[in-house]
């Protein structure tokens, strides 16, 4: 492992060269589960320097979240946990220190931001009370909100979380995280006061666990810029936990790559991205679906499919959908979809991209027949069967007490397949999506996210549909699984001639999978063209913004 301190100096010579804010030494965490001891962290050692942003990158189960919760001194409490080694933050040992010492450190020295801004604020406490909860004054809370780019901060103090958008709520979470308790009057027994604060009551260490994963790309870019400002203006050290090397590339000074509870590689962002040493880092980079780099096969595919598009598998004509405005007066309506027409050629693939609330999922549900449009028509080519849906979260779309095989057999039986033939046919379908016969007997919980999504696709194929409608099918998956699921969808398109209509917020996914991409904004399709053209020469300013905000390692 390269010496972290020299790396930091090499990348950010202007920032602190004194004592690190946090020193992790030989940290080991074991969980006692029903299946025995599980080692979540295996002897992790790491230093976080003053005023640096360290990205902690890895796939799910790599231990990055366990490590970040140990930095807070709050190892997961749901299981019986044994922690060895030490984590020292500003002079307090967050593993072996007393409860009181660790609480004081959390109050004064550490701030934490979590993934989902919709759930990480208390819905029943006013914004101002949450930001000032650690004993800050009203003025200080207002200043923190302003600092985090919340418009009209004084008025926000009286508002409740549900009155704010997701992006604003995440800014409020960050404002609450950087409003530490005063360090002088209530000085804790073990806290090294000189180290506790980065200045202005901003905690010395900010731990952000996937802080932008639930946000739209443009908001994500703003939050990332906010982190950079906290580092540059307040000298705050930030640990950014993320599954996405692209996000790390945008902001981190250093990147630490984790896998299976171990630290594979730590180095400057430049070095990790350009000259990765560890095999795992290389595989992460290779698997990443990046908007600026497509596998060679993609360009070929577009040509193959172009020859087929003589008839349409699915035609949406003049679709509109209105809802009563949430929290609005009687009669006020919200137009979710506004006179949208769209065709999906047989065997073709169309991606609908846009930010949350743009109407893309409503349109997909209308195409699937799950929601009724207020006006317009859905035309499915004769003999195509009912379009089948694949959802984002395969975990909750599969019945938990059915085995995978049973779930598929149930669908087959509805199609009129006999009880005797159904199990064999189910196994064929599973083979088609790359799952073996063992998966047929497993329950959804026993499978990985990628396997579950494959099973969901196999179930969708049970009725032999000509059209698959996919709602963010890979958003919940790690990069390696995501690209393989996309490959699978592509294969199904080639071998079975199935047309795809896919909703995604991720432009890289759209570029990777679709012949055509349609950009939705405010319920309308504002731009639509062949994917290669759209990404190379976006016509609309909005499309350009989306593309520019998409994280990339290139």
């Amino acid at each position: 492992m390269p010496d972290p301190s020299t790396d930091r100096i090499a990348t950010a010579p202007s920032r602190g060269i004194d004592e690190p804010v946090c020193r992790v030494e030989d940290l080991t965490v074991d969980f006692e589960t029903a299946d025995g001891l599980v080692r979540a962290l295996r002897g992790v050692s790491l230093e976080i320097g003053r005023g640096e942003i360290l990205a902690l990158v890895g796939e799910s189960g790599s231990g990055k979240t366990v490590l970040s919760s140990c930095l807070l001194g709050l190892p997961p409490a749901s299981l019986k946990t044994t922690v060895g080694g030490s984590v020292v933050v500003a002079g307090v040992d967050m593993v072996n220190g007393s409860d009181a010492d660790r609480r004081v450190a959390r109050r004064q020295t550490i701030g934490a931001v979590f993934q989902d801004p919709l759930t990480s604020l208390d819905p029943m406490m006013r914004i101002g009370d949450q930001v000032a909860e650690r004993g800050a004054t009203r003025a200080r809370a207002t200043a923190a909100l302003e600092d985090c780019g919340v418009p009209e901060p004084g008025m926000r103090l009286r508002q409740w979380p549900h009155q704010l958008s997701g992006g604003l709520r995440q800014r409020v979470s960050i404002a609450a995280a950087i409003t530490a308790g005063s360090s002088t009057p209530r000085r804790g027994p073990g806290v090294d006061t000189a180290q506790a604060s980065a200045g202005d009551g901003v905690p010395a260490l900010l731990i952000a666990d996937e802080p932008t994963t639930a946000l739209d790309v443009r908001v994500q870019a703003q939050i990332i810029a906010l982190f950079a400002r906290l580092r540059d203006e307040h000298g705050c050290s930030i640990v950014l936990v993320t599954h996405d090397l692209g996000v790390a590339a945008q902001i981190a000074d250093r990147i630490a790559v984790m896998s299976a509870g171990e630290l594979c590689e730590v180095g400057s962002t430049e070095q990790i991205l350009r000259d990765p040493q560890h095999e795992y880092t290389k595989s992460l980079l290779a698997a990443r679906i990046d908007i600026n780099r497509m596998p060679v096969s993609i360009t070929e595919r577009s040509r193959v499919v172009a020859e087929r598009r003589d008839d349409d598998a699915l035609r949406l004509e003049g679709i509109s959908k209105h809802y009563p405005k949430a929290g609005g007066r009687r009669g006020e309506i919200f137009t979710a979809v506004d006179d949208v027409s769209l065709t999906v050629p047989a065997g073709g693939s169309v991606a609908l991209v846009g930010e949350s609330g743009c109407g893309k999922s409503t349109l997909l549900r209308i195409a699937a027949g799950l929601t009724k449009a207020d006006s317009g028509g859905v035309h499915v080519a004769p003999g195509s069967g009912r379009p089948q849906l694949v959802f984002q979260d395969a975990g909750s779309s599969l019945t938990p007490w059915f085995s995978i095989g049973q779930g598929i057999e149930e669908r087959l039986r509805v199609q009129g397949v006999s009880r005797r033939e159904a199990p064999d046919r189910a196994r064929e379908l599973l083979a088609q999506v790359g799952l073996d016969a063992r998966a047929a007997g497993a329950r959804p919980r026993a499978l990985s996210g990628g396997q579950r999504q494959r099973a969901a696709i196999a179930r969708a194929l049970a009725s032999d549909p000509r059209i698959l409608l996919c709602d963010e099918p890979v958003s919940a998956l790690d990069a390696s699984h995501a690209s393989r699921v996309l490959d699978l969808l592509d294969e199904l398109r080639a071998s079975l001639g199935i047309a795809l209509l896919m909703v995604t917020h991720d432009l890289a996914v759209a570029r990777r999978i679709s012949d055509e991409t349609a950009v939705m904004y405010g319920g309308r399709i504002i731009e639509r063209s062949a994917s290669e053209q759209l990404f190379a020469e976006p016509r609309e300013d909005y499309t350009r913004q989306l593309i520019a905000a998409s994280p990339s390692v290139y």
Partner: protein
């Protein structure tokens, strides 16, 4: 906020109207003939027919319904066949004692439910012990608990009186009819304590089942809220477990427990019939069971209506409390 209250108020009126109509229909569908009950076994058919038309039983059903609703609005519940006095006067005499008992029981159930719920949600050995004890308490029928309570706490230990509202058997309660309120108004602390002493054991027996129900709902709610992100945020801010519970977890867990409390008040009102009998509590439960034995239809209908109204009103209060607790409900 105004709209949220208005919506609930409108539904309150609707539910009360439906309740009145349902009671009216049940009354007409029952095989018991109220005229025959008034006139006795030996009345001649002519007499019965004359009385029927006099009482309006020959009118079309909708006409009878409108008259019934009109009488209700003017507070006229008819005349009791058993006591020969207006049902409204009888209820006014007996209801305060029952409401007092149910009110004390509700307070016990709510406080007990909160304490037991919070303690059992924390895990550890205490939580296990509490769950076993409360499960046993909840599965015992209330009359059994009442008898056990009297045997143990009155006969063996002499800690509580065996029955009645007060040591002074002839004590009347004016002006409100609520002994605890009246004696406070009269500036009689010793009498107030005596009344409290009398109400505690029956109220406790009545409240046991509801306490457990509320505690279980609260426990489940606390545990699911406890795994939410904002609780983790609160811990990350460096608060103690107790601070996190009181500042965040509890308020977020309160609404399911409040819903359960509203439902349980209905159980308490009907459970009062049994408990009042065992503790010779001069409430509406005793009045109701006597009326049932006598097929005193006007009295039964009156009591059912009044209990129904109490139940609906209490659940309206619960709705309002939930609006106070959860700001998100106010915009709906």
């Amino acid at each position: 906020m105004v709209r949220a209250v208005a919506v609930r108020l409108a539904s309150l009126v609707g539910v009360l109207l439906l309740l009145a109509i349902a009671v009216f229909l049940i009354q007409r569908l029952l095989p018991a003939d109220p005229v025959r009950a008034v006139l006795g076994r030996n009345a001649s058919p002519d007499e019965i027919a004359a009385r029927r038309s006099e009482l309006g039983f020959d009118d079309p059903l909708p006409v009878q319904l409108v008259r019934f609703l009109g009488d209700l609005l003017s507070g006229d519940l008819g005349t009791s066949l058993r006591t020969r006095s207006p049902v409204s006067a009888d209820i006014a005499a007996y209801l305060p004692a029952t409401l007092e008992l149910v009110f004390v029981a509700t307070v016990i159930a709510l406080l007990g439910g909160l304490i037991v719920g919070v303690l059992s949600a924390r895990g550890g050995w205490l939580s296990g012990v509490i769950r076993v004890v409360t499960a046993a308490g909840a599965s015992a029928p209330s009359f059994l608990l009442a008898i056990l309570g009297i045997l143990l706490l009155y006969r063996q230990l002499g800690l509580f009186p065996a029955g009645g509202r007060s040591s002074d058997l002839l004590a009347t309660s004016t002006p409100t009819g609520f002994l605890l309120v009246d004696r406070l108004l009269a500036g009689d602390p010793a009498g107030w304590l005596d009344a409290l002493h009398h109400v505690l054991l029956p109220a406790f027996v009545l409240a046991v089942g509801s306490t457990v129900a509320i505690a279980r709902v609260l426990r489940g709610s606390l545990r699911s809220v406890d795994s939410l992100d904002f609780v983790r945020s609160a811990r990350a801010k460096g608060f103690t477990a107790l601070q996190v519970t009181t500042r965040h977890t509890l308020r977020n867990s309160l609404n399911p427990a409040l819903s359960m409390t509203g439902l349980q008040v209905g159980m308490l009102l009907s459970g009062a019939v049994v408990v009042e009998t065992v503790f010779s509590w001069p409430g509406i439960g005793a009045y109701l069971s006597a009326s049932i034995g006598f097929s005193d239809l006007p009295a039964i209908v009156g009591v059912v209506l009044v209990l129904g109204v109490a139940y609906v009103v209490i659940n309206f209060v619960v709705d309002m409390l939930q609006l106070v607790v959860d700001p998100r409900l106010r915009s709906a």
